[in-house]
């Protein structure tokens, strides 16, 4: 079993995953599943349950989005314009199950092992938002996950938990599983919207924000799989219970952490938000082979790298990791031991971004392959003396609002943090460079010329 929690901790999100046949609806119902959904449906006629009551509970819980940005969930829901303003336009809920950030594999467990938990969260959120058709966008590679979800949706329709006049409540709700075609950028919410519309996954310029105009030009809320699971548990047990988890009022709830890389027992761990990094590392059996810790990427490959010293007293929640000048992101913790070749690791990450840029913005489209090429040159011992400064200079001009989406900022984070924190390792690569007059060689190809222009701040 590669999913675990601290001793004495009673798991919430992973509570059911080790039950035999955990994806089936009968077991879910037997475990008290869909009680909140039925409770809400039954309370519509009496006026006991209203959409704003659900939203208020979610707001009171302090739930912050688990997809990466940590945006307060209830607050996001209130951005959907009221009926008077949106007219006849429907509202859409999109569950983001694109999970493609390197190091992240928490949503996969929820999808494959406890899909009804996600569906119930989507149903409750749909009620709160006035949604009549909700979609779950799952990455193309999760073929098995899509099958599990489709089976779960069929079961929910068969039990009368979805469809027309659900449980005699007068409410109609449809839910569709939509499978992507393989593209990391489709996890970005506006790219996801474009992709769902049947287009290339090109992020949109914001504003307008999806809450105002999203899929099919209608108000749209995009929430992560784990966020929506939390909604179900908040409706089950209340916001006060939810807030008992976590270090402070701004970082609440049970949380899934993905730990991979050089640890003894990589896997998905559930713990209260704010568990200290060292405790989580110990849960995962410590650094592999008892070796020394060298670096940690705390929130997926887009999060700046931290040194062993920087993570010693770091709590794993949104603000704790932000205080260490990185981000919790998708809570994908990638551990690197003392044997790790940091320049090679950074070059590897840069390959990912070069491959996944959607190509709309010049700094990102031209910059990501260039960074990868330069880093490859450095690790291959063919770097020139000025390469590190040039890398930093070029990377520094690819972020901070130069582009349509923050993919470009994500792409430079590992490069800038890697060079800043492990510069001697990069310099050692340069020292291996063969040519004695390598520093004098002029940039020789088009990519370098583009980079030269970018370094001067011209983004043509």
């Amino acid at each position: 079993m590669s999913e675990m929690w601290p001793a004495g901790y009673v798991p919430v999100l992973l509570a059911r995953i080790s039950r035999p046949d955990s994806p089936a609806i009968d077991g879910y119902l037997a475990d008290g599943g869909y009680a909140s959904w039925k409770k809400v449906l039954a309370g519509i006629a009496t006026g006991e349950w209203t959409p704003s009551k659900v939203t208020d509970l979610v707001k009171a819980s302090g739930l912050r989005g688990r997809g990466g940005a940590g945006f307060p969930c209830g607050l996001k829901w209130t951005f959907v314009p009221p009926k008077e303003k949106r007219g006849n336009k429907p509202v859409y809920l999109l569950c983001n199950a694109d999970e493609s950030e390197p190091g992240t594999f928490k949503d996969r467990v929820l999808i494959e092992k406890d899909p009804h938990q996600i569906l119930e969260g989507m149903m409750l959120a749909s009620f709160a938002l006035g949604v009549r058709h909700a979609y779950l966008y799952i990455r193309g590679e999760m073929v098995h996950g899509a099958e599990v979800l489709n089976a779960a949706v069929d079961e929910a329709y068969a039990k009368g938990l979805l469809g027309k006049n659900v449980q005699g409540s007068g409410l109609d709700l449809d839910l569709t599983i939509h499978r992507g075609g393989g593209a990391y950028i489709c996890g970005e919410e506006t790219a996801l919207i474009e992709s769902l519309e049947g287009k290339r996954g090109h992020p949109r310029i914001k504003p307008p924000f999806p809450a105002v105009s999203g899929v099919w030009a209608s108000p749209t809320v995009v929430n992560n799989v784990e966020t929506l699971c939390c909604v179900k548990h908040i409706l089950d047990r209340g916001p006060d219970w939810f807030r008992t988890y976590g270090r402070n009022e701004k970082n609440t709830g049970p949380k899934l952490f993905c730990i991979s890389g050089h640890v003894e027992r990589p896997g998905v761990y559930e713990a209260p938000m704010g568990i200290p990094f060292l405790e989580l590392l110990a849960l995962a059996g410590g650094v592999k082979g008892g070796r020394k810790l060298k670096a940690v990427i705390p929130g997926g490959s887009s999060a700046p790298m931290l040194t062993a010293e920087e993570v010693q007293s770091m709590p794993l929640d949104f603000d704790g990791v932000a205080a260490a000048k990185s981000m919790l992101g998708s809570a994908a913790i990638i551990v690197m031991d003392e044997t790790t070749d940091i320049p090679k690791a950074v070059a590897n990450i840069s390959k990912f971004y070069a491959h996944e840029s959607c190509g709309q913005c010049t700094p990102c489209r031209e910059g990501t392959p260039w960074l990868n090429k330069m880093l490859k040159r450095v690790v291959n011992g063919q770097g020139k003396r000025q390469d590190l400064d040039l890398l930093v200079q070029v990377a520094s001009q690819m972020g901070n609002g130069m582009t349509i989406c923050v993919f470009s900022d994500a792409a430079i984070a590992p490069v800038l943090s890697g060079i800043a924190k492990f510069r001697p390792e990069f310099e050692a690569c340069l020292a291996k460079a063969a040519s004695p007059d390598f520093a004098l060689t002029a940039p020789s190809d088009v990519t370098e010329k583009v980079a030269g222009r970018m370094a001067e701040g011209i983004h043509s």
């Binding site: 098995h144 992507g180 099919w216």
Partner: protein, 185 residues
Amino acid sequence: MSGGAGTPVSEQAGLPRVGEHGALSAGKAVAFSPKALARFEKLLTRYPTKQAALLPTLWIAQGEFGWISREAVDYVAGLLGLSPAFVWGVTTFYTMYNRAPVGKHLIQFCTSISCHLAGAEEVFAECRKILGDLKPGETSADGRFTVIEVECLAQCDKAPAVMVNDDDFAIITKDNLQKFLGGLR
């Protein structure tokens, strides 16, 4: 293939003509089976626009034909009332729609960071060597294996992670590579 040396490029089969998209030709017309058509019709009921059914329809097409040929693009475009060029443009944005026939086993090695830390690149190279010095994306002479490199498969706790067609495989190392390949029939 029509045309040989001397045939104008515009008349050669497999090459796009002016105003056409660049998909490879399968050399024959294609159409969905009745079962696939039923699935397609059901799909259309799930979206407010026909266009939204494009990705799922391409999945049905790949399931039916194995890859997305020029004829498949034209057929899907016809079903959805979209231009073939648009369908081809969408197809090429996504990595999982095969734009050429692939082997019986499409072996997909993740080489992203967590798998990299577990030595995935070496296993990927070793695998290609064993199967006859295949280049990335090449298919073995017997048509059984195509080996490609992919990005993070969300199985980073099982690094190096591999997918073969639609199935997930965990912890494929140099040590168990032969056994893993032997298990693929």
